[in-house]
Symmetry: C2
Subunit: 387 residues, 2 copies
């Protein structure tokens, strides 16, 4: 296997971007990444998208998007694993470059979620849960994550304030991210006084419905050196699955798919969590950031919430989490999220994070954790700045 | 890159399978393939499915399907490229084994198309065309392929009888396939007297709406030899794209994506079309079989129809095409079709095609050509029996 790295990244604007269609958003991110990398062609691309069919009535996305970015004819494949679709795209691009089949491959993600009604969007998102057992009985994602939060509170004494701390910290970081959908700060009191969605989760515990795209360019370390650009090596890539039905799990307080994915990624990288200095994790709801931090081995079960209260996950803390603002503040165009996490790690490792959200201690190794549904799938990448 | 081969194949029943859900159909095919291969685990799987979201309200398919086949936790990704989704799954499994990341990988495909109304199915399929330019203006696939047929007739003098010959030959072959949806023979006169769908295409020029699944197990040649089972090497894999909008193409009589995919696959294999002895090609409509046979270099443009009239593509002809019955008779569960093509090539190369549809001259090299939409994407594989 060849050594693989990232040499360029790009983002579209994120938010309720009513003047841009799915193909416009993707083209913005893709061409920004191509320009940033300084490459003159792509051999192949993987596009993460959860449900072009339900959100905008368009499948067969990958070919269409090559056409709109002026690269008709190149290899292109769309991949889907619900909200982990973007992370899967990065993984497949990594494997294709590592295998030697292709030299320059783009991994991108896109979702256009605001061209349908709120009910339609809720239905589309619910297809990441088990249609025949969960959705048929009325479950949607705020309800599923609320059950996980209650289970975590009952088992470990996790508090309402710990959840609020996640939201306040992520909005603080997101206020410095130029593409964030909600770049405003919130206090823990504002989170707790916001409207209730599914007890104990308030609206400010939930990531929003977002239009957006993100793209990264992968190549070999040899080619990156020739390009003479800063690059970030992918040391490890791991993927794990679990039942997508919450009720089938032995323990609702942990994300087993994330544990499997992290274990595999660390094994490939020859590293442990102690070697990593910061992470972008999948905070679709505030409780998810706590459960994931424990599932990837950063904290013992039940210990993350307290550490967050103590400021350990803040930008200047011991182990910064979601310096980008996370899904919570930056937004969550489901297919794009996993790619945008890699964009942020690239920026942090190359010292190019905007507007003062650069992690102060110049980290050298970071990681991403992306997941689908209530944790039925997860993808983890470990990355190190090139030298 | 490691040498990759197929060591086992499996199919579910195909047709209007009302007593089985998407997960049941997939599990039937997957476990049949695992049993056929004689492997005791899978490292990873790729599932091709065009639109779980629109057909059955279920995305996040790959994780769910690992769970239902008793393999919760393994790596799993769903891939989509409209009706070429299955071929893409085979390609990604091939790359993953070739790269050294995994040793035993399943490529499968599934679609459950009869749990919705005919209008809903037509809408779902139309998402493989350009929603904003083609579908918005009323185009559906029978109409798009009818335009390709008229263009081919105008440019090359292709006749109505040549189209009928494709249907009659494929139904003859399919009558010997135990999983075929429509295992009955039709005469050229029956095709021409069947109800008109979109001039010049009659209902018997069109592949049906089908429920079904197919699966193949890929591994290294070294492992296959240890398993002591017959195996089929994948010599080359190619993928091509084109605009998914028919109106944007310079020539509607050829499938450029198929030409690109075939060229790449032949280059990787170190072979030419002259080395290949039979093929499974994407006959979603009868005109497609003619256009594809020309696009992959088997015949000069405009020459395939005449050769088909002369019997060259029959089971005992010079170059048999669609010995399985093709999409036309076997059925076309869109995400599964590309995998089922590989199943047929495996059976023909290992001498295990059922009920007398074995190609008489014991071929050693075969190929598959799978495509999405009106030819916006295509995947080609070249395979050789192991020894």
């Amino acid at each position: 296997m060849r050594e693989v790295c990232i040499v360029g990244v790009g983002m579209s604007q994120w938010g309720e971007v009513w003047r841009k269609s799915l193909r416009d958003l993707h083209t913005d991110a893709a061409l920004a990444a191509v320009k940033n990398a300084g490459v003159d062609h792509l051999d192949s691309m993987y596009v993460g998208c959860m449900s072009g069919g339900l959100f905008v009535g368009q499948e067969h996305l990958a070919s269409m998007l090559t056409d709109y970015m002026g690269m008709r004819g190149i290899a292109a494949t769309r991949v889907e694993s619900a909200c982990a679709s973007g992370g899967m795209a990065v993984r497949l691009a990594f494997i294709e470059v590592a295998s030697g089949i292709s030299d320059i491959v783009m991994a991108s993600g896109v979702e256009k979620m605001t061209d349908c009604s709120g009910n339609e969007a809720t239905y589309a998102l619910a297809t990441a849960a088990d249609q025949e057992y969960e959705v048929f009985n009325g479950a949607t994602f705020p309800g599923l994550y609320a059950m996980m939060a209650h289970a975590h509170m009952a088992k470990y004494g996790t508090t309402r304030r710990m959840l609020s701390t996640v939201a306040a910290k992520n909005h603080h970081n997101g206020s410095m991210n130029p593409v964030a959908q909600y770049p405003f700060k919130v206090t823990v009191e504002q989170v707790e006084n916001s409207v209730m969605v599914a007890d104990p989760l308030h609206i400010l515990d939930c990531s929003p419905i977002t239009d957006g795209a993100a793209a990264v360019i992968l190549t070999t370390v040899d080619i990156a050196k020739k390009l003479g650009k800063p690059y970030v090596k992918i040391l490890g890539s791991g993927i794990g699955t679990d039942t997508i039905q919450l009720a089938q799990r032995a323990d609702m307080t942990t994300i087993k798919a994330a544990t499997i994915a992290a274990d595999k990624a660390f094994k490939m990288a020859g590293k442990t969590i102690k070697d990593v200095q910061f992470a972008e994790v999948h905070d679709c709801f505030t409780i998810a950031e706590i459960a994931v931090a424990e599932s990837i081995g950063l904290y013992e079960p039940g210990k993350a919430g307290k550490a967050f209260l103590d400021g350990e996950s803040a930008l200047d803390g011991k182990f910064p989490i979601n310096s980008s603002g996370g899904l919570k503040s930056k937004g969550h165009p489901v297919g794009a999220t996993g790619v945008a996490q890699v964009v942020e790690v690239f920026k942090q490792l190359t010292g190019t994070a905007e507007n003062g959200r650069q992690i102060p201690k110049s980290p050298r190794i970071g990681m991403t954790q992306n997941m689908g549904g209530s944790g039925g799938s997860s993808v983890v990448h470990i990355m190190e700045v090139g030298s």
